[in-house]
Symmetry: C2
């Protein structure tokens, strides 16, 4: 399975232009699975609920239709973050589009920083879906900070965590090592680059997208400040080897009766 | 609070000699808290239940009495691993000795490799106790591999995880970064060095003891192959700052209703 992380620098609010550039980036490296950043084509740093609402979309938007078409044309699964409008509510969401028309929506469980001003906390829970020979789980950015997130996905059978991100700190990329090794999963953290100066606050995103193997190998590492298209071939079945040695298993050796979680 | 990690190379079965060397190491760096390795003075690689039983001890042993005396003399808390005999059962245990006579026993929750042949799985659960201005939690070696372990200790209020280890792989020292940052605790992994050749199998321990701060700083890093006494001053209260920014808290932002654990 060929997996590609797209590390982009979207222009705030230029949804059509950002989508076109994302599609061009995907076309430059034909793959089975593409993982794009959180808020991949909207920009991130909203300044009001009204502005967030004006950029948010339901699943029938022209942006998502363009990515749907790309998924079919490239015969690939595309996972990307976007600001979702669902009736009166706004969510920080991630959508997985499959070329056969199946779709899986995840709403971010753990909102970060001022996202709490603009979005409702996710209500979907963590999702895992089948695509070709892989089981793919979805998480968004700050979910990484709670080890329960990737653990829950692993326990639900994920081989690969598609982790769309807009990271402003460099901790996650380093911490993915522990989560990959402990859960014996591939972690695909697709992060953006660039600075957004909105009103008084500037946020700089840390790039450095990574693909980490169940053995803790950094198979891909993006640059810190530039856009990049990063591709690797992986065998998702490697994530199904949960046995560590004849006596230990990464998941079966858990002892939940002693966990206060 | 001054904390010292003792990274030793015990001689298999020479309990009195190993204890004497540990006490000398502790005396070389007067401290508030000493963290010693797992199986700190017995050696690790047992080859039968009978051999394990012959080296195991109850809490009244002369080895433990010598460490008790050191705790009082140095006016310090000493945490160390040892093979515990409790009636007919054997445990891979860690004991915290306080200079005022208080003691806390922890029995390893997650047994590694052939330990499963010789020890019963721990039945105490994860413990946190008060010492001076710190709350100290106890874990042993392979417990690190289950993120639930350090998480449980953090939720029980630990500022410092006293993590006595006999690590044969180098993953834990690197993964401590994630656990320290996500839980906002100090992690003190005291590991041993040296190779034990017992019957057909040789195990080499990876040293590299670490003390990691709640910010992910590696305050101490031991050598990979040599014994070492590593000391640092820390402020345990730094682990009580669970707030990340005005909108996020490392523990309160958990959403257990979405965790399948």
């Amino acid at each position: 399975m060929k997996i590609t992380l797209v590390q982009n620098h979207p222009v705030f609010g230029d949804k059509a232009g950002n989508v076109a550039r994302l599609v061009a980036a995907m076309e430059s490296s034909p793959s089975d699975l593409y993982v794009l950043p959180e808020m991949a084509y909207s920009g991130y740093q909203f300044t009001s609920v009204e502005e967030t609402r004006s950029l948010a979309e339901d699943l029938g938007s022209s942006s998502i239709d363009a990515l749907r078409a790309a998924s079919r044309r490239l015969d690939a699964c595309v996972v990307f973050g976007f600001p979702e409008r669902a009736g009166n509510l706004l969510y920080n969401s991630s959508l997985a589009l499959l070329p056969d028309g199946k779709e899986y929506l995840y709403r971010k469980t753990h909102l970060f920083y001022k996202e709490k001003l603009f979005f409702s906390p996710g209500d979907t829970g963590f999702k895992v879906f089948d695509f070709r020979n892989a089981k793919i789980g979805i998480a968004i950015c700050f979910d990484w900070f709670f080890p329960e997130s990737f653990r829950t996905l692993a326990l639900k059978g994920a081989d690969i965590v598609a982790h769309s991100s807009n990271l402003v700190l460099p901790y996650c990329q380093r911490a993915d090592f522990a989560a990959a090794v402990q859960n014996k999963v591939f972690i695909a953290t697709a992060n953006r680059v660039g600075t957004e100066q909105r009103e008084a606050e500037a946020l700089t995103f840390t790039g450095g997208s990574v693909l980490v193997s169940p053995k803790g190998e950094y198979l891909l590492e993006g640059p810190r400040e530039k856009e990049a298209v990063l591709s690797a071939d992986i065998d998702p079945a490697a994530a199904r080897v949960k046995r560590l040695n004849p006596w230990n298993d990464a998941l079966d050796d858990r002892r939940p009766e002693f966990y206060d979680l």
